[in-house]
């Protein structure tokens, strides 16, 4: 049971970053300005790198001979454990930035706490991810303020994005048996313990950006159990086609 909970937990960590990393990679060549195109690709590569390490660790915990590539490219949508927030289509630049900010603050807090994991491999990955997340927060927060306090057009776009995204934030902090098991064993962190700190970091930035925080309402969830939006399947078909057409190919 302990191993199976840890495996599920690591899949959640890895899939969040793999899926968001892929969504960011969709900006490559389409960024609003060359410098930002490179910045988004950098963040994307950070996340895919973290995902690769986390899925590799998940595969070794599972012990069934799978590796990170098999987990990334040969699972179907129903087997993915990412939160719904990260699988939503990239939208416009404002949407991408608001999502990145909401997720990066969460990721920074989580990785910071995971540095104390009993599992030394996981704590090592977390130590690397903390530095990357700190930059992701700084970069996305700067953009949230710039766009929110910018023109009427940019303000309306990020406010709209925030309104659409807010209902997907609850799932990040929803704890279930898997989370409680890894918290109890000292391997992982119960995400519900991070929500207060997340609000304390997110709300001041939204305020500085002049954005209205949507009222707490119904929160979407399902991703942690494999119940995804239709968007994930479309994304995976594109992400996985090369590996599935040419299994074992390398370059």
């Amino acid at each position: 049971m302990a191993n199976s909970a840890l495996f599920d937990y690591l899949l959640r960590l890895g899939d969040d970053r793999l899926v968001l990393g892929h969504r960011l990679s969709e900006w490559c060549g389409h960024g609003p300005i060359l410098e930002e195109d490179i910045a988004l690709a950098n963040i994307s590569l950070d996340l895919i790198g973290e995902a690769s390490l986390l899925l590799k660790l998940a595969a070794s915990v599972e012990g069934k001979g799978r590796d990170e590539d098999v987990l990334a490219y040969f699972r179907d949508a129903i087997e993915f454990r990412n939160a719904l927030l990260v699988e939503l289509p990239k939208g416009d630049f404002g949407f991408t930035i608001v999502r990145q900010f909401l997720f990066s603050v969460f990721s920074l807090l989580l990785m910071d706490a995971l540095q104390k994991s009993r599992n030394t491999e996981l704590s090592g990955i977390a130590a690397k991810a903390v530095k990357e997340s700190r930059y992701h927060v700084r970069h996305s927060a700067q953009w949230v303020v710039t766009l929110g306090a910018g023109t009427d057009e940019s303000h309306a776009r990020v406010q709209g994005a925030l309104n659409d995204l807010w209902r997907y934030t609850g799932e990040l902090f929803a704890a279930d048996d898997v989370d409680r098991a890894v918290e109890a064993s000292g391997d992982g962190v119960d995400p519900s313990t991070l929500e207060a700190a997340w609000r304390a970091q997110v709300l001041p930035v939204l305020e500085r950006a002049g954005l209205q925080v949507p009222s707490a309402g119904y929160m979407q969830r399902g991703g942690r159990d494999g119940r995804h939006t239709e968007h994930l399947g479309h994304m995976l078909s594109e992400m996985q086609i090369l590996a599935r057409s040419h299994p074992g190919a390398s370059w």
């Binding site: 060359l34 410098e35 490179i38 910045a39 950098n42 930059y135």
Partner: protein, 140 residues
Amino acid sequence: MGTRGGDRVRREAGPRVGRVTQNFNGGALAAVFTIMANDTTTTTQGTSDSQWPLWEVFLQPPKGEAHEHAGSVHATTAEQALQNARDVYARRGEAVSIWVVPSASITASTPEDMGPFFDPGNDKPYRHPQFYKVPRGIRV
């Protein structure tokens, strides 16, 4: 990025496409190229109007030498310029410190200054220290 792309490329874009057009002697294909050439000119001029202010980027290498000019980025604020410089020029461990300076703040010599500024230095070899003997025990 200013020094590598920016104005220079933009000014060249029109004529370069234009030259391609001249290689075709009429016909439908030539017409297409002409349309493309016109389009390119229009779009690139449109882009130049929306460019953000330019910042010069200086990086200090990990070995602790002085900051060196690395290139330039577009940004609307100093913080954004710093982040763009980090992402464009320092993502492979090239630096331990970054300076960004608004390009407009730099006063530069012009090509016309070449003669009066630099030529007088060419025939005064005694300004170099090569006539001095290096004391024993000093490695150079």
